[in-house]
Amino acid sequence: MIDARKQDRLTMTLGFVAFLFAAACWFYALKLAPSDEAQGEVYRIMFFHVPSAFMAFLASGALLFTSGWTLFKRSPTAALWSKACAEVGLMFTAITLITGSIWGRPTWGVWWTWDARLTTTLILALLYAGYLIFTSSMAPGPQRDRMAAALGLVIAIDVPIIYKSVTWWRTLHQPPSLMRAGGSTMDPEMKNILYVCFFAMLFVAIWLIWTRAVNLKLQAAIEEHSHQAHSH
């Protein structure tokens, strides 16, 4: 019991630090970062939008890893981690779409357009949602874990397509600014702030996945205990 309390306190402290760090980064980005010559102040949403998009992609990378782990090691714990990754991935994909839409309105003049990157990001959100509905629509057990892991692997393939979509298709979305041939085109100060925001968001994402996975493990233990009590 004491261990559980200690663990809870540690989790809450880490979460507080993660969100405080993220809030400080966004405050700096919104108030102190230089204005953009072309877009003025509206570009500042980038410090929230771009790290969120990276976290959505990273969550699918984590989903790929945990799904592989589930398949090869037959680990039920890895299956819970996969679900946590998908939930957090869906959250960050939704944030990416919403902030992208808010950014798109003043820069492109529309809230939404069927642009390649927007469409593929929406596809990623649908896939995360599909994965979560799939896991909840099946009875718990090794078979569900294996099937969800197979689906997780297939979904993770979509991410490189999303990333490359901007260069493959004719698109409204700006080409990658950070990772591109010939080096980044971004102002060094903006780039540094973006890296810090990215790091803060990574911290938040890891905390969210970890906390959710712990909760799912607890939920599974309670269900198992309840099932055993009923069978006796």
């Binding site: 896939l127 799939f134 057990g141 569900r144 099937m147 297939v154």
Partner: protein, 231 residues
């Protein structure tokens, strides 16, 4: 290898017999396809001749894509009757032979749907003197079918035990196949509108279509074994 081929042949023969036993099974996607094309013709109304190839590509691929879903989603249905699926899982059957037999039947059904759809689309939508039907369009359609079929078999197997398959199938299958459909449409557009030959497209859309075909086939072949393993 001999054992693998025997298993593959037996499973394929069983699937063929099931599909052939009832004409409704292979006729309904065709009728659906014809209805869809007629609906397209009505909904678009009079179209300027220069837009006809574009309309032909869009209507044909969307019609074929939706009609194929009827066939794909039913491929494993007979296995669910009398717990055949569960029994097969306990037999020492190679999962690859099982997957390939289902994949072959899906491709056969796909060709059976794709060819009349291409023909009917050309008949109903093309008002010009030059036919849209060509070997290049057929090759593009077949390449798309190879990717769609592999995913169709894998996801149909996954959805067998799910109690939300009506919502899951479109939610998962359609997004995953979007790049395939897009590559097929863009390749066809390049052939019909820009008068490109297939070899010119290998480094762009057609190449992407081939890559997706190989990737989805390999992945689905490998993962199918995990889905049919006994608990």
């Amino acid at each position: 290898m001999k054992k693998f081929l025997t298993q593959f042949r037996a499973l394929l023969w069983q699937a063929l017999q099931v599909e052939w036993s009832n004409s409704e099974r292979w006729l309904s996607p065709l009728l659906f396809s014809a209805t869809m094309i007629i609906l397209f013709v009505f909904s678009f109304g009079k179209v300027e001749p220069k837009f006809l190839p574009q309309l032909y590509i869009a209507a044909t691929f969307i019609t074929a894509f939706l009609s194929l879903q009827i066939a794909f989603s039913r491929v494993l249905e007979p296995d669910m009757q009398d717990k055949v699926f569960d029994q097969l899982r306990t037999y020492p059957i190679s999962p690859s032979a099982w997957f390939l037999s289902k994949y072959t039947i899906v491709i056969l059904l796909g060709v059976l749907i794709l060819l009349p759809t291409l023909f009917l689309s050309n008949l109903f939508l093309n008002e010009g003197p030059v036919s849209f039907l060509s070997g290049s369009i057929l090759i593009i359609g077949l390449l798309a079918l190879l990717s769609l079929g592999a995913l169709g078999v894998l996801l149909s197997t996954m959805m067998l035990r799910s109690n939300a398959k009506q919502i899951l199938y479109p939610l998962i299958y359609f997004p995953l196949t979007t790049p395939v459909l897009l590559s097929a449409v863009e390749s066809s557009h390049a052939v019909l509108v820009d008068a490109k030959v297939l070899s010119d497209l290998m480094s762009s859309w057609l190449g992407l279509l081939v890559i997706f075909g190989i990737m989805y086939f390999t992945l689905c072949l490998l993962l199918f074994g995990e889905l049919v393993k006994p608990e």
